[in-house]
């Protein structure tokens, strides 16, 4: 069976949200709220209440990156110092904690940030091609609700959209 992408553009969040609410209440059989993708110019502050809490692993990346950065930083510095051909000592120890802590701290942040960014890139599916149904209006002032669904449900979805004062409906065959 063919599957379709259908996107409706709404003039504001209220209309889009009421559409999604109906989908959530199984207005269309076989279509759940998890199939919904909301496209908006900003992030609605209460979007979890509508779409459900979908979670984000980005902070875990941050944590891993930071821990790795700190450990790697310290070991890197310590091994460099321990194997330094000639040590400038000036009456101090060879592996110096104050400086290593400062530098490990910088490494912690650097790796934390890099890892966070990479986590974001991966999780947010950036650096992929835009969806064929992407509308420029979404970046302007309209809110898009997109679903991937079976052919049989397309019409009922359109109905639903229209019910909620959709401005425009686009559809595309899913590959």
């Amino acid at each position: 069976m063919k599957r379709y992408y259908v996107m409706g553009l709404f003039s504001n969040f209220e209309e889009a949200f009421s559409t999604i609410s109906e989908i959530r209440q199984h207005a269309i059989p076989g279509v759940t709220v998890d199939d919904v993708t909301l496209k908006s110019p900003i992030e609605h502050p209460e979007i979890e209440e509508i779409l459900g809490d979908r979670g984000s692993p980005v902070p875990k990346f941050s944590l891993f990156g930071a821990i790795f950065g700190a450990i790697f930083g310290f070991l890197f510095l310590a091994s460099a110092q321990a194997n330094f051909l000639t040590q400038p000592q000036g009456g101090k120890a060879i592996i110096t904690l104050p400086s290593n802590i400062v530098l490990s701290y910088e490494m912690l942040i650097l790796f934390g940030v890099l890892s966070t960014v990479i986590g974001f890139m991966i999780n947010a599916r950036l650096m992929t091609k835009r969806h064929p149904l992407y509308s420029e209006k979404v970046s302007l002032d309209q809110v898009g609700v997109m679903l991937e669904l079976d052919e049989k449900n397309v019409d009922s979805l359109k109905e639903l959209f229209k019910k909620h004062k959709v401005l425009e409906i686009r559809e595309e065959v899913s590959q």
Binding site: T37, L38, K39, S40, P41, I42, E43, P45, I47, L51, R54, S56, V58, P59, S62, A66, F76, L77, A80, Q81, N83, F84, L85, T86, P88, G90, K92, T96, S99, V102, L103, Y105, E106, M107, I109, L110, G112, V113, L114, T116, V117, G119, F120, M121, N123, A124, R125, L126, M127, T128, K129, R130, H131, Y134, E136, V138, S139, L140, D141, G144
Partner: protein, 469 residues
């Protein structure tokens, strides 16, 4: 009298339109400014070429003044870089949404100040061509940089800070770059398509976006503090009188925030005027910035005073002698100018009338910046002039080469900033939309407005028709 941070009825489309308009069709004035900046850079480049070929001699540096304007200006630019990212991150975390119209250019300012600042430690090196030896790279010679040196810490810190704040700026700009992509043609479209990384505003992207933005803000606050503490370590880790000061880390951070805020005010006014961003860079936001600046100025003043007191009542005769030299010695005119600009002048920010008067604020902010620049100079040079060994006491005046490079650094910063405002949106469109949306739907602003409202203002505020939806 405008009291709202932003008019919540402003239409989203208008926001896009206004900001995008600011990015196109540079007027004659823009090109003149850009040419002026390039000319300034050329001064510095010529001076640097001369210095590179002849040695550090023409810079007028001497024994015992091994550092002077280069390092002072380095600290100045590093300081200036602090407000953008740090304020943006802090205000983001505490959810002060008035940051939204102004944080973009502030962050850009951070990045460009850093790019300027990073040049100075390189320029000041006697053997520039070997500067990469500061970096910890693996070589078969078995030698590494000296990780004890605060200059190496600087290299680490600045690299980290530059990377992180550039990413912070860039990540925060992605939705806006998507807007630009959607509206641009030609080379700009290609550029924005690449830069926007395929942003399409779907909920998954927004969800991760919110987390990363928060995480990065969390990283950046301690980072920014650590970076300037490390810069202060260049001085505080030494044993020189006037440098070896325990209050230096907070003092430097306060000074950095201070000069950064002052620079934000300057650029705020310029952008507001030239790009007609009156509706976004509103006077209430300006006022908030001014209040913040005033508070930081007072912190800075306090740290100054306790440093004086600690030195005066301390038992280090060398440091005390230096303090006396600062007060009445050859550097005294600059020292008192610095104190005047840094501690007295900010009191203008305490007056609402003055705060709301843009020309005054523009001039004041320039003087605040001057004061902050002098502060750095007065940290670096008097210590070198009057250190432990009285035989090595000396005074010097920087040569034209140093001045040219310092002068050129402003051109460099200006050029980067000018290019930025025409290539990237200098006001965050999506966040202003958020702000407007937020205020419209949650009325958080209303309470505040009531609180501030005065009888005479009621009329103008009560007329919603003026600000169309």
């Amino acid at each position: 009298m405008q009291t709202k941070d932003i008019n919540e009825n402003i239409a989203w489309a208008k926001i896009n339109e206004d900001v995008l308009r600011s990015m196109e069709n540079p007027r004659m004035g823009y090109w003149v400014a850009l040419a002026a900046c390039v000319a300034m850079i050329m001064c510095a480049v010529l001076a640097e070429i001369y210095q590179y070929q002849v040695g550090m001699g023409p810079s007028g540096l001497n024994w015992p003044h091994m550092w002077d304007l280069y390092i002072a200006t380095f600290v100045f630019w590093i300081g200036m870089s602090h407000s953008g990212t740090l304020l943006s991150a802090i205000l983001h975390i505490i959810q002060a949404d008035w940051r939204k119209p102004i944080y973009r250019f502030a962050e850009a300012m951070t990045l460009f100040s850093l790019m300027t600042a990073g040049l100075f430690p390189i320029i000041h090196l006697g053997r520039v061509w070997n500067m990469y030896w500061v970096l910890p790279y693996v070589s078969d010679r078995g030698i590494w940089p000296n990780f004890r040196s605060p200059l190496v810490w600087d290299a680490f810190a600045i690299t980290t800070y530059m990377t992180s704040s550039a990413l912070f700026l860039f990540i925060g700009m992605i939705p806006d770059l998507a807007i630009c992509r959607d509206n641009a043609r030609g080379w700009r479209q290609k550029l924005y398509t690449v830069l926007s990384l395929g942003w399409q505003g779907d909920d998954r992207q927004w969800r991760h976006f919110r987390r990363i933005y928060l995480m990065m803000a969390c990283f950046l606050i301690p980072l920014a503090v650590s970076v300037h503490s490390i810069v202060s370590a260049d001085f505080a880790m030494s044993i020189m009188p006037g440098w070896h000061v325990t209050t230096f880390p907070p003092y430097f951070v306060a000074g950095a925030l201070y000069s950064g805020c002052a620079a934000i005010i300057t650029l705020f006014i310029l952008l507001r005027y030239f790009f007609r961003f009156d509706e976004y860079m509103t006077i209430p936001i300006m006022e908030k910035t001014c209040k913040l600046t005033f508070a930081i100025a007072m912190v800075w003043t306090y740290l100054n005073l306790i440093e004086f007191a600690a030195t005066w009542y301390g038992h280090d005769p060398v440091a005390k002698e230096l303090l006396i030299q600062k007060f009445i010695g050859p550097h005294a005119p600059f020292f008192w100018t610095m104190l005047f600009c840094g501690s007295v002048l900010p009191f203008t920010l305490a007056f609402e009338k003055l705060r709301r008067h843009m020309p005054t604020m523009f001039v004041v902010s320039l003087f605040l910046n001057l004061g902050m620049w002098l502060e750095r100079w007065m940290i670096v040079t008097p210590t070198l002039s009057f250190s432990h060994q009285p035989f090595a006491w000396d005074i010097m005046w920087p040569s034209m080469v140093q001045w040219a490079i310092v002068f050129g650094s402003f051109g460099w910063f200006g050029m980067l900033f000018l290019i930025f405002v025409k290539v990237f949106p200098s006001v965050s469109m999506y966040e202003v939309k958020e702000m407007v949306f937020h205020r419209r739907h949650y009325h958080s602003d209303e309470l505040e407005s009531k609180f501030h409202r005065r009888a005479g203002d009621r009329q103008s505020d009560a007329d919603p028709s003026r600000e169309g939806a």
